[in-house]
Symmetry: D2
Subunit: 155 residues, 4 copies
Amino acid sequence: MEGNQLKGQIGVIGGAECTSDIYEIAREVGGEIAKKGFALVCGGLTGVMEAACRGAKEAGGITIGILPTSDKRAANPYVDVVIPTGLGHARNVLVVLAADAVVAVDGETGTLSEIAIALKVGKPIVGIRTWELEGRVPLAKGGKEAVALLVGMLR
Amino acid sequence: MEGNQLKGQIGVIGGAECTSDIYEIAREVGGEIAKKGFALVCGGLTGVMEAACRGAKEAGGITIGILPTSDKRAANPYVDVVIPTGLGHARNVLVVLAADAVVAVDGETGTLSEIAIALKVGKPIVGIRTWELEGRVPLAKGGKEAVALLVGMLR
Amino acid sequence: MEGNQLKGQIGVIGGAECTSDIYEIAREVGGEIAKKGFALVCGGLTGVMEAACRGAKEAGGITIGILPTSDKRAANPYVDVVIPTGLGHARNVLVVLAADAVVAVDGETGTLSEIAIALKVGKPIVGIRTWELEGRVPLAKGGKEAVALLVGMLR
Amino acid sequence: MEGNQLKGQIGVIGGAECTSDIYEIAREVGGEIAKKGFALVCGGLTGVMEAACRGAKEAGGITIGILPTSDKRAANPYVDVVIPTGLGHARNVLVVLAADAVVAVDGETGTLSEIAIALKVGKPIVGIRTWELEGRVPLAKGGKEAVALLVGMLR
């Protein structure tokens, strides 16, 4: 991988547990991120994170997993670059900071904390079936639409 | 101060900028926390954080400020114990973890990130004029009611 | 406790396990810190940390424990203000940043990491039976001498 | 880059300022890490960090920079994957945790804090013209020897 060939890093945030519907959506998001030439950054665990990494790898992309644990073995099998932080929930902030823009897929309160930090630091964000926060998070129907919207915001 | 005389630590989260109305509400919250025998923990800066610390000190309480900076001079003048973290936004998580229960007053996306973490880790929380999150955050009208509600949750 | 009555915060760093000799030295260090009017800040666990907190409480002082865990129950019984960080080893940096000056007692590599950060950020430091680092860490024989030296450096 | 083609992540720690001699040594270390099939992880800044990243890229490797700032622009031009943490000195711990093994080149107290954490968590480490710590850090003469030693420790 040549760093200068990468267009940047797009984050995918969502729960460690999800339905098969959400899994497929996250997988599509990961694939679109890779096809657009961006590295995918996420929390590196299961559920939405695993699905997005899997989709990115299937599309020949590169994946980065920023783990809450200090043990790299917590990473899902589709993570290329593993960053075990040992920071617990504070690692959520790092996932957002490592992303030029963020796609939020589904998710509960952990995902909400990442959406809030993304809004706080002004990272472009698009959501799919997640917290809308009174219109602060523009929603997309699927991965293709979400990533296209984000890439547009980054131009 | 004798640690064994303290009943615990209650957090107050809210913005570094606020209206005079919100300032007075946060000041009342801080005073109530002190009167109930709890230490007050917050982000240590201005606005709601300063107001809560001021109210706690006026009621003879003890205040803890967990700062985003590595420089203790960022603390407001009503902070007794200063914890300069140098962690930036990741310090929001520490404010929540240091609290047995949390009162959210007003606040924007930074406060939302702290509310989300409080819900994620299961800390009792009450809000005043803040994010309701579809009923996840029970709201109180003022400081007296909010702190009474929280103390009840801690029993 | 009135914050404005506290002269500042002095850190004590050392191992979670120590001999009875070292325990008594750390206890003396904690007592001296309290007698000089400073709050004691440490990692909040056992060994040197517990001994220093115990000594400070016996002298009527206030103690702050910055824990590596997110669970406050890991704190030793002599900690007044508990800051559970959930940051693991990264919490070592916070202990140093929260101290105006540092006393290092005994200790292994964890303590060495804190001494290194203290030197890096320019905090006054005195050691007792610990890493000398080619003279970078001035050594004292006991708690009374160590704290007297530090207080002198802070003037 | 295929993650499963990477053998792991080797860290290079050292100062943000260094002599041209040290720069060339760090550059050789980076090149050797890439030739052996490992990703290089470092603090992402100038000096030894830049030299190591440059050497790794010249050898067709992949580089990861874990920054103390929240702004990715602080990364040196040879960093592929940028992790802006905003954690200040606490990021030193993350550099060590992200590495399966560590090479320390030259360096002052910041580097010492990373060496101490590496020893604390039991990461294999080899040093070049750096802190020996009473034999705890085995020293190598150059990059080729250092990386060969480390790879041997990882088997």
